[in-house]
């Protein structure tokens, strides 16, 4: 049986071999490798749509994996196409690593064993270090070092937690856990939360995220914010909802605490930023908190709301970061420069606009329906005071989201001259339009 993961794995090997062949033939141009990579990504997306997930010993799907893998591959294709237009001369290593990272993300989503989960997470992480480093900015060394160091710590914590769980439960497969020795098991669960929360950027394990997001190429940031973060959140869902069925009120309270801390911290920090990219980085952390709060309910209703929410913010975040790349190239770094945006590209401005509306959660974008499902799940289980607190924080976030929108100042779109329109920006705009359609059409998946 053929699956997206097989296609991707074969693709990684194929691209490496092809690259060796290219070096052997002394061909300088590496365009062909890029196109092959792009082809493999599209092929894997189609395979996913047609054949669904794979079910083998360590990797088995649950009911949502088809949907999640589908949108992860969709965003990956869009981001890679963007990267291809943005830096057509990038090294072939980037292609291999990108494929590797996408493979890792899809494997995290269907992992059913701790070892396979760990390996899949490492696959994303190792590829991400190089992707972050490849943008030639001033802060890349610092950001990459921070990322590598903190990721190593998180992996060590994760392995420690897994070993404790093994000590307690005697197995590493999800779903086979029974007769646990309580103390090491619960300790292990707690440590695994910490290990996975690094990837999902849950406060207080988020400290690497703003720097890394800010210093890398915005297309890579779009990948990290959407695909990599989706993988982290899905790993948490997989382990704590489908794996252990730990529906104890204690775990629920810990999750609620983490989620609320994430939302509050990230929102407050976002509101004091004056650099657009850093603001968006903090806002994406707040989004992860909202997705996590659905999981904290630890029931079907909450988790399906959470998964739709992950989809909604992944698409919106990918859209805003890809759109921001066009502006970043024209040196729009601070919020006060945002009024130049319409002059550079109208479509990218519209994309940024719609993306921010969706992150803010305004109808008729999918961000609104995601928040609607989350709130409805919370209210259905009687968390009225929590919903009030979330409404308060959303109201607070109005300030900075509305601030970006207002600073864009669309009122002189037509009167102003275009600054440096070219074919490359035109091609990027096509991808943005595709994602914009997804922001509106995504509502049909709300019942997943």
């Amino acid at each position: 049986m053929i699956n997206a993961e097989y296609v991707l794995f074969a693709g990684v090997l194929g691209v490496i071999l092809l690259d060796l062949l290219r070096i052997g033939l002394k061909r300088q141009t590496n365009n062909i490798i890029h196109y092959v990579t792009f082809g493999i990504l599209i092929l894997s997306f189609i395979t996913e749509l047609v054949f669904g997930n794979m079910n083998v010993e360590f990797f088995s799907s649950v009911q949502y994996s088809y949907f999640v893998n589908g949108f992860v591959l969709f965003i990956s294709v869009a981001v890679y196409a963007y990267l291809l237009i943005d830096t057509p001369e990038h090294s072939t290593y980037i292609d291999v690593l990108y494929l590797f990272a996408v493979l890792g993300a899809t494997l995290v989503i269907i992992s059913s064993n701790f070892i396979s989960l760990l390996i899949a997470i490492e696959m994303i992480s190792i590829a991400s270090y190089s992707l972050v480093f490849f943008q030639k900015t001033l802060g890349r060394m610092e950001a990459t070092m921070k990322y590598v160091a903190i990721s190593f710590i998180s992996v060590i914590i994760l392995i420690f937690g897994i070993s404790l769980i093994y000590a307690g439960a005697g197995t590493l497969s999800f779903g086979k856990v029974s007769n646990v020795d309580y103390l090491p098991f619960i300790l292990g669960v707690g440590i695994v939360i910490a290990g996975l929360a690094f990837k999902a950027t849950i406060v207080p394990f988020h400290m690497w995220a703003p720097d890394v997001y800010e210093s890398s190429n915005s297309a890579v940031t779009a990948f990290l914010v959407s695909v990599s973060k989706t993988a982290g959140l899905l790993a948490l869902i997989r382990v704590f909802f489908f794996g252990f069925q730990v529906s104890s009120s204690f775990v629920s309270i810990v999750f609620f605490g983490l989620a609320i801390a994430t939302i509050f911290f990230a929102t407050f920090l976002a509101s004091v930023q004056d650099r657009i990219k850093r603001l968006l980085a903090y806002s994406s952390i707040a989004q992860a908190g909202f997705a996590f709060i659905g999981l904290a309910l630890l029931n079907r209703n909450g988790v399906s709301a959470s998964i739709f929410y992950i989809f909604s913010f992944a698409v919106a975040d990918a859209l805003v970061f890809l759109a921001y790349k066009i502006f970043e190239d024209k040196k729009i770094i601070y919020l006060k420069d945002a009024n130049r945006m319409p002059r550079i590209s109208k479509i990218a401005t519209a994309a940024m606009f719609i993306g921010v509306l969706s992150l803010f959660g305004l109808p008729p974008t999918i961000g609104f329906f995601g928040k609607l499902l989350i709130f409805s799940a919370l209210l259905a289980h009687g968390y009225v005071s929590l919903v009030i607190a979330l409404f308060a924080i959303l109201l607070f976030s109005t300030f900075y989201y509305a601030n970006i929108l207002m600073k864009m100042d669309l009122s002189d779109i037509h009167s102003s001259q275009n600054e440096g329109q070219n074919i490359r920006i035109r091609m990027k705009e096509v991808i943005l339009v595709l994602l914009m359609i997804a922001i509106f059409a995504g509502v049909m998946f709300a019942g997943i």
Binding site: P363, S376, A380, M406, I413
Partner: protein, 472 residues
Amino acid sequence: MSISLFLFLVIPAIGIIWLYINSLIKPRLDERKIVLSAVAATVATFLVGLITGFSGFSISLVSSIDFSFSLGLNSISIPFMLLAVIVPAIGLNSAFKEIKQNATLFYVLFLLIYMSLILLFVSTNLISLFVVWEVTLISVFFMIAFWGEEETRHKASIKFLVFTQFGSFTLLAGFILMFLYTGSFNLFVIRTMIGSVPAWVSYTIFGLVLMTALIKMPIFPLHSWLPDAHTSAPTTGSVILAGLLLKMGGYVLLLFGLELLPNVASIIQVPALILGVFTLLYVSLVASAQKDFKRLVAYSSIFYMALVFIGIFSINGYGESGAVFLMVSHGFIVSMLFVLAGILKEKTGTRDIDKLGGLAKNMPFYAFFLMFAMLATIGVPGMSNFIGEALVFIGGYMTYAFVLFSLAGVLIATNYYISAIKRILFTSLKKELQKVRDISVYDILQLSFFSMFILVLGIVPGILLNSFSVTL
């Protein structure tokens, strides 16, 4: 053959798409012609629909959370639809004069607001109602933020958005609670099921809807966004804001508060009436101290919404129909006043009452319409506000006599309006105003339309009063 309500989505949407295509091609057609034809087509559809009747429309989008796009008339739709279809259409003339920068985007926003306002009053699914509710808010926010007065627009628009967004959240929370306890977002299903929900839920829902109404109408402690938003908004924005957005608060309070949960309403009747009367007196005193003419009109619109609030909370047929009637009538009058304030700024360059004087000499037509609008707003018999005010006072007196304290507010309102008229129109003409010219023929036409509706509703109120029924 009846008119499908779906047309009110289609026609403005065609206008928006046409505007967009027009911005791409060369030579460009004048945007004003496009928006005018879209609005005229909508008005014509509405008028035909009034004769032939309207038919509903429904399409289910996500069945698992009962999200469908469904339109249909409810008992109080028609008067609000009249307001939503006519007022922005007449107000359009101000936009034609005022908007120079990037007209395409402005008219796209305008048509978006126009479409969603009409759909708001005929939505029978709460989620589609909330969607159009938010679209109007956000579009008005951008209208103020991008085309408002240069110095104050950013601050005022953020203030507007934060306040009204809070109102939206409480409304959304109320809607989710209704869904959780009745299993449906459909208005009519909820109406049949609402009797079976637990008492605390019905209290919470009522409290949330009331909070939304307090912000949107607005009522005393939560009113501070309105004068700032009005002073910074372009005239068209003010017309939409005062003529329609404030009425959305009254609409949801009637629809989800009074008609759905009358027993909860009767519990908080006394505090609500006291709050209404207090707001009315307080605001009329604040308005007396205003120097900016537009700010004065903004405060007086809070005054009339407080009167509507009193009418709604008198919980009887007179009060409720008075409230609906007053909302419609005030929608026309306050829009006319804002248009007049816009003309004042356009012709003389200032809205400061102290800097004006003696304009009646140079601007006889303007003086006529200003006096007409002011007499209408203080409720002279024969004009529409009189009927609404009389019904509200009758309804209020039938429940609690202390409501008649608000008559003192009407006296104060009369005082500040008369003194404003005196200072703007009848003192000696200032030297710097010698060259001011009278209003153009388009302005006269626009103001005559407003006057016509005010007079018709005042002389034959039956046509409006028979078009809705208040069920209690």
